[in-house]
Amino acid sequence: MRIRVRRTGGFAGIERRAEMDTSGRPDVEEWRSLAERALASGRDTPPAGVPDGFRYEITVDGRTVYAADPLLTEAQRELVSRVLKEGA
């Protein structure tokens, strides 16, 4: 499973992106479950968001959903934070 996160906007307007391939990882099932939950509550078009709030694009195996602070679900929050931290 390939998970890509792109974060844009924010006060600084600086983009961050990271990607990871979960195949072969011992926690692959945990990632799959997290990704599915994050996708399920995502939107097909970018939400309006709030001034200076971060915007997120989450792509899992080619499917992209959008989300924006401060209205991320717990799953989305955890996924973007882990991918941005652990991904390359």
Partner: protein
């Protein structure tokens, strides 16, 4: 800054509140007691004065409601602590008139809210964000290592930064002013947060954020640094701030952050779908126009250039989907209406001309 020292009923020096709260806060933590002592006393003094004023004027008022009537000449601040979660607003940790506590972030947010309230009231006669005494709420310690600050439509939210790239977002007073100004824009022109109107929304926040810093420092247009977010970047980052109104595109150039992407002129306008159509990028153009107008006029930027921009923001003619040219044209009109056909009009016209934005 020393020229603003005064006495506090005795021989101990106190910095007036004209010293920006973030400077005071930093001074208060200085190892040298000669610096930290006065700064601490000044912070305490400020809180004491506010408490006293509050006690003598609003005794009996419900603490949760904004003070009514004449009390709208004072801010009604509440600072919450999210405790590193992303739940808003969090736990109330400081309210109007209470003494500074041990958390410097809370104290900075509280003081920054006060500085912003003060500029809008004293210079433009505006009573808080909505001009009706709206309470000012801020949440600090939002999220873990959270690299951002934002306005959620009702309140300000500040992250602590990750200490690798960003420090605490309450450090620069212009960031606090920037966020609160999003609230002012929301309650006035309500510029759509996308494309050119979004970049204008961002620019207005940078303009008044910078003016709040200049006002608290008592700086003229020539003395100001015109930087947004100075002091916010971690020491390892190669850069001075996040944006420069004086020289857009020069605030940072770092191997992790990349290079400041802001254009200064219309010919370099960045077309992109990201960042809501580059709202934090293309704001460099109207930002630079304001800088050019303000420095051409000289003196305190909040007096004339700031007044013209404020007239446009609140005048009722600025459309939610305004383009740069619409905004520019309204500033020319506002300059003429307020100051006639003198230097002010010329400075504004020339500023937009220099950044390549047409005015009618």
């Amino acid at each position: 800054m020393v020229r603003n020292m005064t006495t506090n009923g005795g021989s101990q020096p106190v910095f007036c509140t004209i010293v920006p709260p973030h400077v005071l806060d930093r001074l208060a933590r200085n190892e040298d007691p000669a610096l930290s002592g006065p700064a601490r006393r000044s912070l305490e003094h400020d809180a004491y004065q506010r408490t006293k004023r509050r006690l003598t004027t609003v005794i009996g008022a419900a603490s949760a409601a904004p003070p009514a009537g004449a009390a709208a000449d004072k801010p009604h601040r509440t600072v919450y602590d999210a405790g590193h979660t992303q739940d808003l607003p969090g736990t109330k940790v400081r309210e109007e008139g209470s003494e500074p506590g041990s958390d410097a972030t809370v104290n900075r947010a509280y003081a920054g809210l006060g500085a912003t309230f003060e500029l809008y009231l004293k210079v433009y006669g505006r009573h808080s964000i909505d001009d009706s005494g709206m309470p000012l709420d801020a949440t600090v310690h939002f999220g873990e290592n959270y690299d951002n600050a934002f306005w959620n439509g009702e309140q300000m939210v500040f992250g602590d930064g990750d200490d690798e790239i960003f420090l605490d977002f309450t450090i620069p007073v212009d960031v606090i002013g920037h966020e609160l100004t999003h609230g002012v824009t929301q309650h006035t022109a309500n510029l759509e947060y996308y494309g050119q109107s979004g970049a204008l929304n961002e620019s207005v926040s940078d303009v008044f954020g910078s003016l709040i810093k200049q006002y608290t420092l008592g700086q003229t247009a020539a003395e100001a640094d015109w930087l947004i977010g100075a002091g916010l970047l971690a020491p390892r980052v190669t850069g001075t701030a996040l944006r420069s109104m004086k020289a857009p595109g020069t605030a940072y150039d770092d191997d992790v952050l990349g290079k400041d992407p802001q254009p200064a002129k219309m010919e370099d306008y960045v077309r992109t779908g990201r960042d809501n159509g580059g709202v934090h990028i293309n704001s460099g153009i109207p930002n630079h126009a304001f800088y050019l107008a303000a420095t051409a006029l000289g003196g305190y930027a909040w007096e004339k250039a700031g007044r013209i921009w404020y007239d446009v923001l609140t005048g009722g003619d600025l459309k939610e989907d305004a383009l740069f040219a619409d905004f520019a044209t309204l500033t020319v009109k506002a300059a003429r209406e307020r100051y006639g056909t003198g230097d002010e009009l010329q400075a504004v016209q020339k500023a937009w001309e220099q950044v390549g934005v047409r005015t009618l």
